[in-house]
Amino acid sequence: MSSNLMNGASMLLECLVREGVECMFGYPGGVTLPFYDALYDHPLRHVLVRHEENAAFAAQGYARTTGKVGVCCATSGPGATNLTTGLVDAMMDSIPIVALTGQVSSKLIGSDAFQEADTFGITRSCTKHNYMVKRIEDLPQIIHEAFYIAGTGRPGPVLVDIPKDVFQGNGHYAPVSTIHLPGYKVYTEGHSGQIRRAAQMIWDSERTMVYAGGGIIAANASAELRELVETINAPTVCTLMGLGALPSEHPNFISMPGMHGSYAANMGMTHTDLLIALGVRFDDRVTGKLAAFAPHAKVIHVDIDPAEVGKNRNPDLPIVGDVRRVLQKLNPILKETREQEAPKKAAGRQAWWDQVKAWKEQHPLQPSYSDSEIKPQHLVAEIDRIAGGRAVVTADVGQHQMWAAQLVRFNAPRLWVNSGGLGSMGFGLPAAIGAQFGQPDNLVISLVGDGGFQMSIPELATIAAYGLPVKIIVLNNGYLGMVRQWQELFYNNRLSSVTLDCFPDAEKLAGAYGFKGRTVEKPHELAKAIDDAVAEPGPYLLNVKVTPFENVYPMVPAGGAVNEMVMGPPQPVPVG
């Protein structure tokens, strides 16, 4: 039995191949040398990023656009600590990634050895679960468990810390056929009785609202969501994490709710009598003041994580289960009973739809334009035009992210990639790298702010090195726009440390990396500039100078009730 004798590094690769891993994102170092040596002549693709944080973000970009588990890798100490932001980010948005870190040799652990950090301890709260491999015999089991935990139930990041001697040691690889995790509880099916009750509640309501989130995307339940929405003909809002769960062009789609959600979405949430919450977590950015949120509504809450059900809002009907499985059971019941039940409340439902449409018409989300300057919304509208509801758009964090969420259409899931829960600046560009590997044939646009972009500039080298045709579009307002907006609105416009001077020349910057770039500032040049960027076969950096002082509206002030949103800047009061 010498054929399967191998070192830990090769064993790890064997496990990754068995998990179907095709590419991973990482950065080598001292203790991962044996692993990189094994990679040297191995077909598995390793993408060398320029910073470990970006390896985690790229792995997320890959996971978010494919639905597969993303993989990233870092060395011990600083390599591992650099991963942490990406891990917390994946935790907050329930994104399945497996992070592999090297650790100093077992006998040195605890001795403050060179590049030793307590990765296992540090990442306890950054991960769904984490492991430290103590013996090479345990390696295969742990790796397969890690993938299983990351990708099942409520997905999330799992980290495996591997000491150098485990990489180097030899052992017999025995394929792992079963995973036994007695403490890992995944509730998928949903209680049939509760599901039947849900159907009845739906028919008994008039002002139904579907509130769909990232859980729909994680569960690949878009088709089932659409079936539900069409069967009961309910207006539907998708959260920041759920955009694309229902096609943006679907007649029942209203928009995103919450702090920067539309008037119609927030009024709908306030006046609904039945909120069907699917794969959402009643996040504060959605609910505003919790006590005033959906005050007239009964709530049906479907989530795979029992801890989310009742965490922020006590539902009238909790259903713990995989939202896809639950909808697969609920939809047939609704279809069977529709003919008999739907007419009972038809008039009320029609009135509700009329109301929702009226709200939509009163305050539609629409771009604004100027003849002399490019308005940021104009830029985002252009991105929407070129994306056509089909391209991948990754965003960074800030005003540009919110405008994109409001104005860009996503007609399929896994196209909109953004850091929702953690709001990590520096996410957009590396996520686009992962997204381009995930959807190699699709157009990938990375819309970033001038602040966040400068957190990710090193990754231009990765984009250039792999010839990734990512279209980087900088919404350049010269400010940390979202912070400036808050300073303007809530701190007497005392703009403190938010000015971004000395933005580099885009053409020269891209040129330095060997690809094309340009800056535009004239509104009439914008459309062509975007067309040119997309027509370019390789990467492109388009720096778009926009009006600096534009604010994102509507806006629900933090802690306010969502129906008290501010629709726009205060109008000048005529004097005299």
Binding site: G121, S125, N130, K134, P182, G183, Y184, K185
Partner: protein
């Protein structure tokens, strides 16, 4: 309010840290904690008392139950359970009060674990109230620890 949670967890590296860590991360105050092995060497039994708002009770249990190494966490605050505390107490005593201390110890059914010229180490078990009384009585004889 004080909530008592009994949990059964795998005896895996970091399992203890996870159970206590999740409480700290989620902002709950731990009042006391005991860990013991069970008959199955692969499992440990942990009893945690946390100070929480009544409406948070279910959430605490759910968060702990989410941990991969936890087989089961249950809220035993209201379940009929035997709750006994153990006190080990050192009392420094002058020569003349030694006999009196031993008499009191007998009343509380405390055992003498150690005796020296400086005093005694006593062990007592019982419910919290009885032990508080025991401590108060001993304090009246001299420095206690």
């Amino acid at each position: 309010m004080l909530q008592t949670i009994s949990l059964l967890l795998e005896n895996k590296p970091g399992a203890l840290m996870r159970a206590t860590g999740v409480l700290v991360t989620r902002g709950y105050n731990m009042e006391s904690l005991t860990v013991a092995r069970t008959l199955d060497p692969g499992l440990s039994r942990m009893t945690i008392v946390v100070d929480v708002e009544p409406h948070q009770r279910a959430q605490v249990i759910k968060q702990i139950n989410k941990l991969i190494n936890v087989l089961q966490a249950t809220d035993v605050t209201e379940s009929p359970s035997v709750c006994r505390e153990l006190v080990l107490l050192r009392v420094r005593a002058a020569q003349e009060s030694r006999t009196a201390i031993l008499k009191e110890a007998e009343i509380f059914q405390a055992r003498v674990i150690d005796s020296s010229t400086e005093g005694f180490v006593l062990e007592a078990t019982g419910d919290a109230e009885k032990l508080d009384e025991f401590i108060a009585v001993m304090r009246s004889y001299g420095d206690i620890e």
